[in-house]
Amino acid sequence: MRDLLKSPGPHEPLSPFAESVVDDLGLRGALDRRPNALSLGTIKLAGIARTIIANPGVVLLDEPAAGLDERERRELARVIRQVADRHGIAVVVVEHDMALILNTCDRIVVLDFGQKIADGSPDIVQADERVILAYLGEPIQAEPRAESVTRRRGNQHDAAGEA
């Protein structure tokens, strides 16, 4: 995997920034493994690592949790929150995993038939009658706080400590 994170080429060492991203995302142990030996969750985290190393201002994620198991989803949630908090990146995520959304996102924008029907904090959107009617059905609770990432901005110690 190490070669996938190098820029400009595979014969160059990882940049100090790339090294820090590898550590932030908990990928140090996977660096010298072949991609086909990695779990789907680790491959997805490696993709996010490559994105961050490119130093973007915005990251767009379309159903990043698809195919991941519960542990990998929790790790993905932690990483998404960390991408925003530690690197100041704006993240837009399309996702059906409500636990991941509720524990990770500052805001939820709900679309129905191509139009925005709600835009607000997770608590507000969860209670919105139009959202419940269009999508949620019954209210879905977030995971217990101890198992989730923090939504508080700028509290990097909490996010990092839950790796």
């Binding site: 767009l60 925003a84 399309v94 990770t104 038939f113």
Partner: protein
């Protein structure tokens, strides 16, 4: 603070068929925003248009300091163009 992503009256879709209609959205630095909705609601169409993969049919898509409009896309076949 200027938002890093700004959709203003976005109309997006495929060919002449609009899937997303008149959507406004702002995403600020360090903010995580989820797009939620049932299948076919327009979530992926919206995010693909933000990425420049789809040409907006109307409205304005602004990402970082770049802006894409329907006319610019039509003229240049580019995802994003400077203001």
């Amino acid at each position: 603070m200027m938002p890093l992503v700004k959709l203003d009256g976005l109309v997006a879709g495929y060919g002449k068929v609009s899937i997303v209609r008149d959507v406004d959205l702002e995403v600020n630095k360090g903010e995580v925003v989820a797009l939620l909705g049932p299948n076919g609601a327009g979530k992926t169409t919206t995010i693909l248009t933000m990425a420049g993969e789809l040409t907006p049919l109307g409205g304005v898509v602004r990402c970082l300091d770049l802006e894409a409009t329907a006319s610019l896309h039509g003229a240049h076949r580019a995802g994003l163009r400077p203001r």
